[in-house]
Symmetry: C2
């Protein structure tokens, strides 16, 4: 549970992570075959990776189009004052909105936050922006971009550096 430094990972651990990041549905049996291990040590390694906090959680990815959520927006947001109170209030408020999938505090003179928002269509986006984002105290500048095509949409980390 601590945020301490890197745990030692051998080649098999990396293989396990590589497989699981892309195929979270894999049974332990199939995973063990792919990494060249028998089921029991494979299961133990996965558990160790979970306990070490390297494996954070498992999630299920849904199809937004099939759920009627066709519009994804990237919004760059600037704040009027860079005080902790402003930031805290913004972050607390943004956390209340399920439409916000990602929110990062970023560097750069153009914006303080970058958020990714998923909504059904442009009407809902407009409503979201006006009634939710621009209403938050301290939001001074907003610049919207819309996703035309998802070229890459992954959660996988590059494990080649380890």
């Amino acid at each position: 549970m601590n945020n301490e430094k890197l745990v030692k990972l051998d080649r098999i651990d990396r293989k396990i992570l590589e497989e699981l990041q892309r195929h979270g549905e894999l049974s332990n049996q199939e995973l063990s075959e792919r990494v060249g291990l028998s089921p029991s040590p494979c299961s133990r390694r996965v558990k160790a990776l979970e306990d070490a906090g390297i494996i954070v959680r498992r999630v299920t990815i849904l199809d937004h189009k099939k759920l009627g959520l066709a519009l994804t927006a990237i919004i760059l947001i600037g704040m009027d004052r860079h005080t902790p109170e402003r930031f805290e209030a913004f972050e607390r408020q943004v956390g209340e909105y399920p439409e916000v999938q990602e929110c990062y505090l970023i560097t750069g003179q153009d914006a303080d936050y970058m958020i990714k928002v998923v909504v059904p269509d442009m009407d809902h986006y407009h409503e979201f922006l006006l009634n939710k984002i621009t209403r938050i105290q301290g939001v001074s500048g907003v610049h919207s971009s819309f996703v035309l095509r998802r070229v890459i949409d992954s959660t996988a980390l590059p494990l080649g550096y380890l």
Copy 2:
């Protein structure tokens, strides 16, 4: 496998999706309890949601800091010419780089692509930008921002609109 219109989803289906998008590790047994169903119909519903393509895939989320991947960058990229060949070449090339977690073709006059990149540190980022991104044919403008804090980092879709 088709991209046809929305399948009808009742309240229980939505509950299942709501649980699974946040807790992909849930056993069918525990899921069934949470949505107020016995295991068998719950399993059948999940399978139906998979077959309908609403459940796309399961993934495992890893801890980047523990893996020594401390730097996340948001890069806005402009292209010199807006021709299909340019776009195709860029997208093909970017797909080769495991550091790129997301890549979206977006609207806006400032940029054509927004990509999210994960690397160990600033040195590696610099190298990545110079040797990989700016080398791609047609890349004319690049603007980098760096993630200072991950306020929200989720893959969950807002299911309240259904």
